[in-house]
Protein backbone atom coordinates (compact mmCIF):
# COMPACT_ATOMS: atom_id res chain seq x y z
CA UNK A 1 0.00 0.00 0.00
CA UNK A 2 1.11 3.50 -0.88
CA UNK A 3 1.28 5.70 2.20
CA UNK A 4 0.26 8.80 0.24
CA UNK A 5 -3.10 7.36 -0.57
CA UNK A 6 -3.98 5.98 2.82
CA UNK A 7 -6.08 7.45 5.62
CA UNK A 8 -6.74 6.13 9.10
CA UNK A 9 -10.43 6.27 9.99
CA UNK A 10 -13.05 5.17 12.51
CA UNK A 11 -15.43 2.49 11.26
CA UNK A 12 -19.12 3.20 11.91
CA UNK A 13 -20.42 -0.11 10.58
CA UNK A 14 -21.16 -1.29 14.11
CA UNK A 15 -20.99 0.01 17.67
CA UNK A 16 -17.41 -1.22 18.20
CA UNK A 17 -16.30 1.94 16.35
CA UNK A 18 -12.87 0.48 15.49
CA UNK A 19 -10.37 3.31 15.17
CA UNK A 20 -7.55 1.44 13.47
CA UNK A 21 -9.00 1.05 10.00
CA UNK A 22 -6.86 2.19 7.07
CA UNK A 23 -8.41 3.07 3.74
CA UNK A 24 -6.54 3.17 0.45
CA UNK A 25 -7.75 5.48 -2.31
CA UNK A 26 -7.16 5.50 -6.04
CA UNK A 27 -6.43 8.68 -7.99
CA UNK A 28 -10.11 9.53 -8.28
CA UNK A 29 -10.51 9.35 -4.53
CA UNK A 30 -12.44 6.08 -4.56
CA UNK A 31 -11.83 3.70 -1.69
CA UNK A 32 -10.18 0.65 -3.23
CA UNK A 33 -8.79 -1.24 -0.25
CA UNK A 34 -9.45 -1.48 3.46
CA UNK A 35 -6.98 -2.69 6.08
CA UNK A 36 -7.95 -4.11 9.49
CA UNK A 37 -11.70 -3.60 9.00
CA UNK A 38 -13.78 -6.77 9.20
CA UNK A 39 -15.95 -7.99 6.33
CA UNK A 40 -18.83 -5.79 7.46
CA UNK A 41 -16.66 -2.68 7.79
CA UNK A 42 -14.92 -3.34 4.47
CA UNK A 43 -18.28 -3.64 2.69
CA UNK A 44 -19.42 -0.40 4.30
CA UNK A 45 -16.38 1.58 3.18
CA UNK A 46 -16.00 0.15 -0.29
CA UNK A 47 -19.65 -0.28 -1.19
CA UNK A 48 -22.07 1.92 0.66
CA UNK A 49 -21.22 5.30 -0.88
CA UNK A 50 -21.29 4.02 -4.44
CA UNK A 51 -24.61 2.24 -4.67
CA UNK A 52 -28.33 2.77 -4.32
CA UNK A 53 -28.12 6.43 -3.28
CA UNK A 54 -31.35 8.20 -2.41
CA UNK A 55 -32.50 11.15 -4.52
CA UNK A 56 -34.72 14.04 -3.42
CA UNK A 57 -38.32 13.15 -4.19
CA UNK A 58 -41.85 14.23 -3.41
CA UNK A 59 -44.50 11.58 -4.02
CA UNK A 60 -42.05 9.62 -6.09
CA UNK A 61 -41.18 12.52 -8.40
CA UNK A 62 -37.68 14.01 -8.52
CA UNK A 63 -37.44 17.48 -6.97
CA UNK A 64 -34.66 19.77 -5.76
CA UNK A 65 -33.35 19.42 -2.23
CA UNK A 66 -34.74 22.88 -1.49
CA UNK A 67 -38.23 21.81 -2.48
CA UNK A 68 -37.95 18.62 -0.45
CA UNK A 69 -36.89 20.61 2.60
CA UNK A 70 -39.68 23.14 2.02
CA UNK A 71 -42.27 20.42 1.80
CA UNK A 72 -40.87 18.84 4.98
CA UNK A 73 -41.19 22.10 6.87
CA UNK A 74 -44.78 22.45 5.68
CA UNK A 75 -45.78 18.92 6.67
CA UNK A 76 -44.17 19.13 10.09
CA UNK A 77 -45.52 22.60 10.86
CA UNK A 78 -49.07 21.49 10.08
CA UNK A 79 -48.95 18.25 12.02
CA UNK A 80 -50.58 17.96 15.43
CA UNK A 81 -49.01 14.66 16.38
CA UNK A 82 -45.72 14.36 14.54
CA UNK A 83 -43.31 11.57 15.38
CA UNK A 84 -39.55 11.55 14.90
CA UNK A 85 -37.82 8.21 14.64
CA UNK A 86 -34.23 7.13 14.05
CA UNK A 87 -30.99 9.05 14.57
CA UNK A 88 -29.08 5.92 15.66
CA UNK A 89 -26.74 6.24 12.68
CA UNK A 90 -26.20 9.98 13.04
CA UNK A 91 -23.53 11.93 14.88
CA UNK A 92 -24.07 13.27 18.41
CA UNK A 93 -24.39 16.75 16.95
CA UNK A 94 -27.21 15.63 14.64
CA UNK A 95 -28.92 13.86 17.51
CA UNK A 96 -28.96 17.06 19.56
CA UNK A 97 -30.59 18.84 16.61
CA UNK A 98 -33.13 16.05 16.21
CA UNK A 99 -34.12 16.20 19.86
CA UNK A 100 -34.34 20.00 19.58
CA UNK A 101 -36.65 19.63 16.60
CA UNK A 102 -38.88 17.24 18.56
CA UNK A 103 -39.07 19.78 21.37
CA UNK A 104 -39.90 22.63 19.01
CA UNK A 105 -42.58 20.58 17.21
CA UNK A 106 -44.11 19.07 20.35
CA UNK A 107 -43.36 15.72 18.76
CA UNK A 108 -42.95 12.19 20.01
CA UNK A 109 -39.41 10.93 19.56
CA UNK A 110 -38.10 7.40 19.64
CA UNK A 111 -35.32 5.29 18.19
CA UNK A 112 -34.61 1.62 17.51
CA UNK A 113 -33.52 1.13 21.13
CA UNK A 114 -37.21 0.88 22.10
CA UNK A 115 -37.28 -2.34 20.07
CA UNK A 116 -34.05 -3.78 21.39
CA UNK A 117 -31.42 -2.71 23.91
CA UNK A 118 -33.54 0.02 25.53
CA UNK A 119 -34.36 -2.17 28.53
CA UNK A 120 -30.69 -2.51 29.39
CA UNK A 121 -29.69 1.01 28.35
CA UNK A 122 -32.27 2.53 30.67
CA UNK A 123 -30.35 0.88 33.49
CA UNK A 124 -26.84 1.56 32.22
CA UNK A 125 -27.22 5.23 31.31
CA UNK A 126 -28.69 6.49 34.60
CA UNK A 127 -26.16 4.28 36.38
CA UNK A 128 -28.44 1.79 38.11
CA UNK A 129 -26.67 -1.20 36.56
CA UNK A 130 -22.94 -1.74 36.89
CA UNK A 131 -21.02 -1.34 33.67
CA UNK A 132 -17.48 -0.74 32.44
CA UNK A 133 -15.72 0.17 29.21
CA UNK A 134 -14.44 -2.17 26.54
CA UNK A 135 -10.94 -1.01 27.45
CA UNK A 136 -11.57 -2.24 31.00
CA UNK A 137 -12.70 -5.55 29.54
CA UNK A 138 -9.50 -5.85 27.54
CA UNK A 139 -7.33 -4.96 30.54
CA UNK A 140 -9.14 -6.79 33.35
CA UNK A 141 -11.95 -9.18 32.42
CA UNK A 142 -11.17 -12.82 33.01
CA UNK A 143 -14.75 -13.98 32.53
CA UNK A 144 -16.88 -12.74 29.68
CA UNK A 145 -20.39 -13.93 29.01
CA UNK A 146 -21.94 -13.53 25.57
CA UNK A 147 -25.56 -13.95 26.58
CA UNK A 148 -27.96 -14.07 23.67
CA UNK A 149 -25.36 -12.24 21.63
CA UNK A 150 -23.32 -13.39 18.65
CA UNK A 151 -20.54 -10.85 18.13
CA UNK A 152 -18.90 -12.98 15.43
CA UNK A 153 -21.82 -11.95 13.22
CA UNK A 154 -23.00 -8.67 14.70
CA UNK A 155 -19.77 -7.05 16.00
CA UNK A 156 -17.08 -9.07 14.24
CA UNK A 157 -13.98 -7.55 15.89
CA UNK A 158 -15.45 -7.36 19.39
CA UNK A 159 -13.65 -10.50 20.54
CA UNK A 160 -10.33 -9.75 18.85
CA UNK A 161 -10.11 -6.09 19.85
CA UNK A 162 -11.61 -6.09 23.31
CA UNK A 163 -13.22 -9.05 24.87
CA UNK A 164 -11.33 -12.31 24.34
CA UNK A 165 -8.07 -12.43 22.41
CA UNK A 166 -6.07 -9.27 23.11
CA UNK A 167 -3.46 -8.89 25.83
CA UNK A 168 -4.33 -6.30 28.45
CA UNK A 169 -2.81 -4.78 31.57
CA UNK A 170 -3.85 -7.61 33.88
CA UNK A 171 -4.21 -10.11 31.05
CA UNK A 172 -0.68 -10.58 29.82
CA UNK A 173 -0.48 -14.32 29.44
CA UNK A 174 -2.78 -14.67 26.47
CA UNK A 175 -6.26 -15.87 25.76
CA UNK A 176 -5.56 -19.56 26.27
CA UNK A 177 -4.99 -19.13 30.00
CA UNK A 178 -6.19 -15.63 30.84
CA UNK A 179 -9.78 -15.65 29.67
CA UNK A 180 -12.88 -17.74 30.18
CA UNK A 181 -15.41 -16.83 27.48
CA UNK A 182 -18.89 -18.27 27.98
CA UNK A 183 -21.71 -18.27 25.49
CA UNK A 184 -25.37 -18.69 26.43
CA UNK A 185 -27.68 -18.97 23.46
CA UNK A 186 -30.49 -20.93 21.87
CA UNK A 187 -28.20 -22.17 19.12
CA UNK A 188 -24.60 -23.00 18.54
CA UNK A 189 -23.76 -19.68 16.91
CA UNK A 190 -20.39 -18.86 15.37
CA UNK A 191 -19.55 -17.16 18.66
CA UNK A 192 -20.54 -20.25 20.68
CA UNK A 193 -18.14 -22.25 18.49
CA UNK A 194 -15.09 -20.33 19.74
CA UNK A 195 -16.08 -19.91 23.39
CA UNK A 196 -14.60 -22.25 25.98
CA UNK A 197 -18.05 -22.91 27.45
CA UNK A 198 -21.37 -22.99 25.66
CA UNK A 199 -24.73 -23.35 27.38
CA UNK A 200 -27.53 -24.07 25.00
CA UNK A 201 -30.92 -23.04 26.33
CA UNK A 202 -34.45 -23.27 24.98
CA UNK A 203 -35.97 -20.19 23.35
CA UNK A 204 -37.10 -18.05 26.28
CA UNK A 205 -35.13 -20.30 28.62
CA UNK A 206 -33.25 -17.26 29.97
CA UNK A 207 -35.75 -16.67 32.74
CA UNK A 208 -35.46 -20.22 34.05
CA UNK A 209 -31.70 -20.07 33.87
CA UNK A 210 -31.57 -16.84 35.87
CA UNK A 211 -33.88 -18.27 38.51
CA UNK A 212 -31.66 -21.32 38.81
CA UNK A 213 -28.53 -19.18 38.96
CA UNK A 214 -30.00 -17.05 41.73
CA UNK A 215 -30.63 -20.16 43.79
CA UNK A 216 -27.38 -21.91 43.04
CA UNK A 217 -25.27 -18.82 43.77
CA UNK A 218 -26.59 -19.02 47.31
CA UNK A 219 -25.97 -22.72 47.41
CA UNK A 220 -29.70 -23.48 47.62
CA UNK A 221 -29.71 -25.88 44.70
CA UNK A 222 -27.02 -27.81 42.95
CA UNK A 223 -26.21 -30.92 41.02
CA UNK A 224 -29.11 -32.60 39.32
CA UNK A 225 -31.82 -30.30 40.59
CA UNK A 226 -31.03 -27.70 37.98
CA UNK A 227 -33.93 -26.93 35.69
CA UNK A 228 -32.56 -24.97 32.71
CA UNK A 229 -33.58 -27.62 30.21
CA UNK A 230 -30.72 -29.10 28.27
CA UNK A 231 -28.04 -27.96 30.69
CA UNK A 232 -26.30 -30.71 32.54
CA UNK A 233 -26.20 -30.33 36.34
CA UNK A 234 -22.44 -30.61 36.62
CA UNK A 235 -21.85 -28.08 33.86
CA UNK A 236 -24.29 -25.75 35.53
CA UNK A 237 -22.42 -26.02 38.81
CA UNK A 238 -19.26 -25.10 36.94
CA UNK A 239 -20.94 -22.04 35.48
CA UNK A 240 -22.03 -20.91 38.93
CA UNK A 241 -18.52 -21.39 40.16
CA UNK A 242 -16.85 -19.52 37.32
CA UNK A 243 -19.17 -16.54 37.82
CA UNK A 244 -18.64 -16.57 41.57
CA UNK A 245 -14.86 -16.72 41.38
CA UNK A 246 -14.38 -14.20 38.59
CA UNK A 247 -11.90 -11.39 39.17
CA UNK A 248 -13.65 -9.13 36.70
CA UNK A 249 -16.69 -10.42 34.85
CA UNK A 250 -18.49 -8.72 31.97
CA UNK A 251 -21.83 -9.83 30.56
CA UNK A 252 -22.51 -8.80 26.97
CA UNK A 253 -26.28 -8.73 26.80
CA UNK A 254 -27.62 -9.51 23.35
CA UNK A 255 -31.03 -9.32 21.80
CA UNK A 256 -31.66 -12.96 22.67
CA UNK A 257 -31.51 -12.07 26.35
CA UNK A 258 -33.31 -8.74 26.12
CA UNK A 259 -36.24 -10.07 24.11
CA UNK A 260 -36.90 -12.98 26.37
CA UNK A 261 -36.81 -10.79 29.49
CA UNK A 262 -39.02 -8.03 28.17
CA UNK A 263 -41.59 -8.67 30.89
CA UNK A 264 -39.19 -9.80 33.59
CA UNK A 265 -36.12 -7.60 33.32
CA UNK A 266 -36.17 -7.17 37.12
CA UNK A 267 -34.94 -10.73 37.34
CA UNK A 268 -31.83 -9.68 35.46
CA UNK A 269 -31.38 -6.75 37.88
CA UNK A 270 -31.52 -9.23 40.74
CA UNK A 271 -28.98 -11.52 39.10
CA UNK A 272 -26.45 -8.73 38.51
CA UNK A 273 -26.90 -7.55 42.08
CA UNK A 274 -26.47 -11.05 43.44
CA UNK A 275 -23.41 -11.75 41.27
CA UNK A 276 -21.82 -8.57 42.58
CA UNK A 277 -21.99 -9.95 46.09
CA UNK A 278 -19.39 -12.46 44.96
CA UNK A 279 -17.48 -10.93 42.05
CA UNK A 280 -17.36 -7.56 40.27
CA UNK A 281 -19.81 -8.13 37.44
CA UNK A 282 -20.52 -5.62 34.67
CA UNK A 283 -23.02 -5.41 31.85
CA UNK A 284 -22.36 -3.98 28.40
CA UNK A 285 -25.32 -4.02 25.98
CA UNK A 286 -24.41 -5.22 22.50
CA UNK A 287 -25.80 -2.13 20.85
CA UNK A 288 -26.23 -2.61 17.10
CA UNK A 289 -26.34 0.73 15.31
CA UNK A 290 -23.09 2.55 15.81
CA UNK A 291 -24.50 5.52 17.68
CA UNK A 292 -27.59 4.15 19.41
CA UNK A 293 -25.74 4.59 22.68
CA UNK A 294 -25.28 8.23 21.71
CA UNK A 295 -28.93 8.74 20.81
CA UNK A 296 -30.19 7.27 24.07
CA UNK A 297 -27.68 9.36 26.04
CA UNK A 298 -28.61 12.53 24.11
CA UNK A 299 -32.31 12.07 24.73
CA UNK A 300 -31.66 11.18 28.37
CA UNK A 301 -29.66 14.38 28.85
CA UNK A 302 -32.48 16.42 27.30
CA UNK A 303 -35.50 14.74 28.85
CA UNK A 304 -34.51 12.32 31.60
CA UNK A 305 -35.54 9.33 29.47
CA UNK A 306 -33.54 7.33 26.95
CA UNK A 307 -36.36 6.75 24.43
CA UNK A 308 -40.18 6.83 23.98
CA UNK A 309 -40.53 10.52 24.80
CA UNK A 310 -43.23 13.04 23.93
CA UNK A 311 -42.53 16.76 24.24
CA UNK A 312 -45.42 19.15 24.79
CA UNK A 313 -44.77 22.84 25.42
CA UNK A 314 -41.54 22.15 27.22
CA UNK A 315 -43.01 19.33 29.30
CA UNK A 316 -41.80 15.80 28.89
CA UNK A 317 -44.00 12.74 28.86
CA UNK A 318 -42.63 9.22 28.61
CA UNK A 319 -44.02 5.72 28.27
CA UNK A 320 -44.43 2.74 26.01
CA UNK A 321 -47.33 4.52 24.30
CA UNK A 322 -44.62 6.64 22.62
CA UNK A 323 -42.63 3.71 21.29
CA UNK A 324 -42.59 3.70 17.50
CA UNK A 325 -44.60 0.49 17.38
CA UNK A 326 -47.28 1.81 19.71
CA UNK A 327 -47.59 5.18 17.95
CA UNK A 328 -47.96 3.52 14.58
CA UNK A 329 -50.19 0.70 15.78
CA UNK A 330 -52.50 3.20 17.44
CA UNK A 331 -52.45 5.33 14.28
CA UNK A 332 -52.19 8.48 16.37
CA UNK A 333 -49.31 10.01 14.43
CA UNK A 334 -50.32 12.39 11.65
CA UNK A 335 -46.82 12.92 10.23
CA UNK A 336 -43.49 11.16 10.59
CA UNK A 337 -39.89 12.21 10.18
CA UNK A 338 -37.54 9.25 9.81
CA UNK A 339 -33.82 10.00 10.06
CA UNK A 340 -31.28 7.38 9.05
CA UNK A 341 -33.53 4.46 9.87
CA UNK A 342 -35.54 1.93 7.92
CA UNK A 343 -38.54 1.01 10.05
CA UNK A 344 -40.29 -0.72 7.16
CA UNK A 345 -37.49 -3.30 7.26
CA UNK A 346 -36.75 -3.27 10.96
CA UNK A 347 -40.09 -3.28 12.77
CA UNK A 348 -43.13 -5.48 12.10
CA UNK A 349 -44.27 -4.65 8.59
CA UNK A 350 -47.94 -4.63 9.55
CA UNK A 351 -47.13 -1.79 11.92
CA UNK A 352 -44.59 0.15 9.90
CA UNK A 353 -46.68 0.12 6.75
CA UNK A 354 -49.06 2.63 8.31
CA UNK A 355 -46.32 5.16 7.52
CA UNK A 356 -47.67 4.90 3.97
CA UNK A 357 -50.99 6.31 5.14
CA UNK A 358 -49.56 9.51 6.65
CA UNK A 359 -47.16 12.11 5.28
CA UNK A 360 -43.79 10.53 5.99
CA UNK A 361 -40.48 12.23 5.38
CA UNK A 362 -37.34 10.12 5.25
CA UNK A 363 -33.79 11.44 5.42
CA UNK A 364 -31.39 8.72 4.34
CA UNK A 365 -28.29 8.14 2.27
CA UNK A 366 -29.87 5.16 0.54
CA UNK A 367 -33.10 4.05 -1.05
CA UNK A 368 -34.79 1.68 1.38
CA UNK A 369 -38.19 0.08 1.80
CA UNK A 370 -39.01 3.10 3.96
CA UNK A 371 -38.09 5.65 1.28
CA UNK A 372 -40.33 3.61 -1.05
CA UNK A 373 -43.41 4.54 0.96
CA UNK A 374 -42.35 8.05 2.01
CA UNK A 375 -44.06 11.14 0.68
CA UNK A 376 -40.81 13.10 0.88
CA UNK A 377 -37.30 11.68 0.52
CA UNK A 378 -34.24 13.79 1.32
CA UNK A 379 -30.81 12.33 0.55
CA UNK A 380 -28.10 12.72 3.16
CA UNK A 381 -24.36 12.27 3.29
CA UNK A 382 -23.09 9.03 4.80
CA UNK A 383 -21.78 9.82 8.26
CA UNK A 384 -18.37 8.26 8.72
CA UNK A 385 -17.46 8.55 5.03
CA UNK A 386 -18.88 11.84 3.74
CA UNK A 387 -19.59 13.67 6.98
CA UNK A 388 -17.89 13.60 10.36
CA UNK A 389 -18.94 14.22 13.93
CA UNK A 390 -18.76 12.27 17.15
CA UNK A 391 -20.38 9.08 18.39
CA UNK A 392 -20.56 6.94 21.52
CA UNK A 393 -19.26 3.40 21.28
CA UNK A 394 -21.45 0.65 22.77
CA UNK A 395 -19.78 1.23 26.15
CA UNK A 396 -20.37 5.00 26.08
CA UNK A 397 -16.82 6.03 25.16
CA UNK A 398 -16.81 8.96 22.76
CA UNK A 399 -15.01 8.64 19.43
CA UNK A 400 -14.46 11.06 16.57
CA UNK A 401 -15.92 9.90 13.25
CA UNK A 402 -14.09 10.42 9.98
CA UNK A 403 -15.07 12.03 6.70
CA UNK A 404 -12.44 10.65 4.32
CA UNK A 405 -14.52 11.29 1.22
CA UNK A 406 -16.36 14.53 1.62
CA UNK A 407 -19.19 14.86 -0.87
CA UNK A 408 -20.36 18.35 -1.66
CA UNK A 409 -23.37 17.09 -3.60
CA UNK A 410 -25.25 15.90 -0.55
CA UNK A 411 -25.86 17.67 2.72
CA UNK A 412 -25.17 16.01 6.04
CA UNK A 413 -28.18 15.12 8.15
CA UNK A 414 -27.00 17.81 10.60
CA UNK A 415 -27.17 20.49 7.89
CA UNK A 416 -30.57 19.24 6.80
CA UNK A 417 -31.95 19.30 10.33
CA UNK A 418 -30.62 22.82 10.83
CA UNK A 419 -32.51 23.97 7.77
CA UNK A 420 -35.69 22.22 8.88
CA UNK A 421 -35.35 23.71 12.38
CA UNK A 422 -35.04 27.21 10.91
CA UNK A 423 -38.21 26.68 8.89
CA UNK A 424 -40.66 25.21 11.36
Amino acid sequence: MDANNVARVTCPACACLCRDVDLEFDDRGDIVHTYNACRKGAAFFMGSYRENRALPKIEGKPVSIDDAVKSTVEILSNAKNPVIFGLDTSSLETQVLGVGLARKLNAAIDDTSSLCQGLVLERIIPGSMKTCTLDDVRDYSDVMVYWGSDPANSHPRHMSKFSYFPRGKKRQKGWETDRMPICIDVRKSNTAGVCKKFYKIEPKGDEGLINDLLLSLDGKIGGKEIGGKGIDGKEFAKLTNILKKAEHCTIFSGLGLVYSLKNSIKLFDALIEKLNEYAPTHVIPMVGHYNMRGMTQTLYDASGYINKVRFSDGEVDHGSQYSITSTLQGKEADAALIIGADPVSSIPLKTSISLAGIPTITIDAHETPTTMISRVVIPAAITGIEAGGEALRMDGVKHELSAPRENKEVLSDAELLKRILEGV
Binding site: T34, K40, V194
Partner: protein, 149 residues
Protein backbone atom coordinates in the same frame (compact mmCIF):
# COMPACT_ATOMS: atom_id res chain seq x y z
CA UNK B 1 -3.18 -43.20 -2.67
CA UNK B 2 -5.42 -41.31 -5.03
CA UNK B 3 -2.35 -39.48 -6.26
CA UNK B 4 -0.55 -42.71 -6.97
CA UNK B 5 -3.50 -44.09 -8.93
CA UNK B 6 -3.34 -41.12 -11.29
CA UNK B 7 0.41 -41.22 -11.90
CA UNK B 8 1.77 -43.06 -14.98
CA UNK B 9 2.87 -45.97 -12.73
CA UNK B 10 5.79 -46.78 -15.04
CA UNK B 11 8.47 -46.24 -12.41
CA UNK B 12 10.60 -44.50 -15.04
CA UNK B 13 12.56 -42.60 -12.37
CA UNK B 14 12.57 -39.31 -14.30
CA UNK B 15 11.43 -37.52 -11.20
CA UNK B 16 14.43 -38.73 -9.28
CA UNK B 17 12.47 -41.25 -7.24
CA UNK B 18 12.78 -44.95 -7.82
CA UNK B 19 9.04 -45.59 -7.94
CA UNK B 20 5.86 -43.68 -8.66
CA UNK B 21 4.70 -44.67 -5.19
CA UNK B 22 7.69 -43.00 -3.56
CA UNK B 23 7.02 -39.92 -5.64
CA UNK B 24 3.38 -39.84 -4.54
CA UNK B 25 4.41 -39.99 -0.89
CA UNK B 26 6.81 -37.08 -1.36
CA UNK B 27 4.13 -35.01 -3.06
CA UNK B 28 2.13 -35.26 0.14
CA UNK B 29 5.13 -34.36 2.26
CA UNK B 30 5.83 -31.47 -0.12
CA UNK B 31 9.28 -32.66 -1.03
CA UNK B 32 8.24 -32.88 -4.68
CA UNK B 33 5.92 -30.87 -6.89
CA UNK B 34 3.67 -32.68 -9.34
CA UNK B 35 5.31 -30.91 -12.28
CA UNK B 36 8.48 -32.90 -11.66
CA UNK B 37 6.83 -35.93 -13.21
CA UNK B 38 7.75 -35.10 -16.80
CA UNK B 39 5.98 -38.01 -18.52
CA UNK B 40 2.72 -36.98 -16.88
CA UNK B 41 3.16 -33.36 -17.85
CA UNK B 42 4.32 -33.94 -21.39
CA UNK B 43 2.73 -37.12 -22.69
CA UNK B 44 -0.73 -36.38 -24.03
CA UNK B 45 -2.03 -39.83 -23.19
CA UNK B 46 -1.93 -38.79 -19.50
CA UNK B 47 -3.80 -35.53 -20.13
CA UNK B 48 -6.94 -36.53 -18.21
CA UNK B 49 -4.91 -37.74 -15.22
CA UNK B 50 -2.75 -34.64 -15.37
CA UNK B 51 -5.71 -32.28 -15.19
CA UNK B 52 -7.27 -34.21 -12.38
CA UNK B 53 -4.06 -34.19 -10.39
CA UNK B 54 -3.45 -30.49 -10.99
CA UNK B 55 -6.93 -29.69 -9.75
CA UNK B 56 -6.65 -32.00 -6.80
CA UNK B 57 -3.33 -30.54 -5.72
CA UNK B 58 -4.23 -26.92 -6.33
CA UNK B 59 -5.08 -26.21 -2.68
CA UNK B 60 -1.69 -27.57 -1.68
CA UNK B 61 0.05 -25.37 -4.21
CA UNK B 62 -1.90 -22.34 -3.02
CA UNK B 63 -1.08 -23.17 0.53
CA UNK B 64 2.62 -22.98 -0.13
CA UNK B 65 5.17 -24.54 2.12
CA UNK B 66 3.31 -24.48 5.41
CA UNK B 67 0.09 -25.91 4.04
CA UNK B 68 -1.89 -22.90 5.28
CA UNK B 69 -5.08 -22.32 3.33
CA UNK B 70 -7.50 -19.47 3.87
CA UNK B 71 -11.02 -19.88 2.54
CA UNK B 72 -11.69 -16.21 2.08
CA UNK B 73 -15.29 -16.80 1.04
CA UNK B 74 -15.94 -18.00 4.60
CA UNK B 75 -13.75 -15.52 6.49
CA UNK B 76 -15.50 -12.84 8.59
CA UNK B 77 -12.41 -10.66 8.83
CA UNK B 78 -12.91 -10.69 12.59
CA UNK B 79 -9.18 -10.70 13.23
CA UNK B 80 -9.38 -13.34 15.97
CA UNK B 81 -6.58 -15.29 14.29
CA UNK B 82 -4.56 -12.10 13.80
CA UNK B 83 -4.61 -11.34 17.51
CA UNK B 84 -4.33 -14.95 18.68
CA UNK B 85 -1.34 -16.06 16.56
CA UNK B 86 1.72 -16.30 18.84
CA UNK B 87 4.02 -15.10 16.07
CA UNK B 88 1.89 -12.03 15.50
CA UNK B 89 1.93 -11.37 19.25
CA UNK B 90 5.71 -11.72 19.50
CA UNK B 91 6.43 -9.66 16.40
CA UNK B 92 3.92 -6.89 17.05
CA UNK B 93 3.45 -6.34 20.79
CA UNK B 94 2.09 -2.81 20.26
CA UNK B 95 -0.40 -3.75 17.54
CA UNK B 96 -1.79 -7.21 16.92
CA UNK B 97 -0.99 -8.36 20.46
CA UNK B 98 -3.31 -5.80 22.02
CA UNK B 99 -6.11 -6.26 19.51
CA UNK B 100 -5.27 -3.51 17.04
CA UNK B 101 -4.50 -3.86 13.37
CA UNK B 102 -0.86 -4.90 12.82
CA UNK B 103 1.56 -2.01 13.19
CA UNK B 104 4.42 -3.55 11.25
CA UNK B 105 5.02 -5.98 8.42
CA UNK B 106 6.50 -8.77 10.49
CA UNK B 107 3.16 -10.43 11.21
CA UNK B 108 1.89 -13.55 9.48
CA UNK B 109 -1.82 -12.81 9.46
CA UNK B 110 -3.59 -9.52 8.75
CA UNK B 111 -6.96 -8.46 7.40
CA UNK B 112 -7.18 -6.80 3.99
CA UNK B 113 -10.47 -5.93 2.27
CA UNK B 114 -12.40 -7.64 5.02
CA UNK B 115 -10.70 -11.03 4.84
CA UNK B 116 -7.54 -12.45 6.30
CA UNK B 117 -4.35 -12.80 4.24
CA UNK B 118 -1.13 -14.58 5.17
CA UNK B 119 2.44 -13.42 4.59
CA UNK B 120 5.84 -14.37 6.08
CA UNK B 121 4.49 -17.90 6.38
CA UNK B 122 8.03 -19.13 6.91
CA UNK B 123 7.65 -17.75 10.45
CA UNK B 124 4.66 -19.99 11.21
CA UNK B 125 5.29 -22.37 14.10
CA UNK B 126 4.14 -25.28 11.98
CA UNK B 127 7.12 -24.74 9.74
CA UNK B 128 10.86 -25.22 10.01
CA UNK B 129 13.05 -27.44 12.14
CA UNK B 130 11.33 -26.85 15.48
CA UNK B 131 7.83 -27.11 14.12
CA UNK B 132 4.98 -27.67 16.53
CA UNK B 133 1.33 -28.38 15.90
CA UNK B 134 0.10 -24.84 16.53
CA UNK B 135 -3.67 -24.34 16.39
CA UNK B 136 -3.76 -20.78 17.69
CA UNK B 137 -5.29 -19.42 14.50
CA UNK B 138 -7.70 -22.30 13.94
CA UNK B 139 -9.33 -22.61 17.35
CA UNK B 140 -10.35 -18.91 17.57
CA UNK B 141 -11.81 -18.85 14.07
CA UNK B 142 -15.61 -18.57 14.13
CA UNK B 143 -16.04 -19.41 10.47
CA UNK B 144 -13.76 -22.36 9.81
CA UNK B 145 -11.87 -20.30 7.25
CA UNK B 146 -8.37 -21.46 8.19
CA UNK B 147 -7.10 -24.89 7.33
CA UNK B 148 -3.75 -26.62 7.12
CA UNK B 149 -3.39 -29.32 4.47
Amino acid sequence: MEIYQLLPKTNCKECGESTCMAFAVKIISREHGIKECTPLMEDSKYAAEKNKLLEMLKPMEDAGETGLIIHDDKCFGCGNCVVACPVNVANDPEGAAIGDGPSNDKVILKVVDGVVVAQNVGECRRFGKNRILCNACIDPCPSGAIEFV
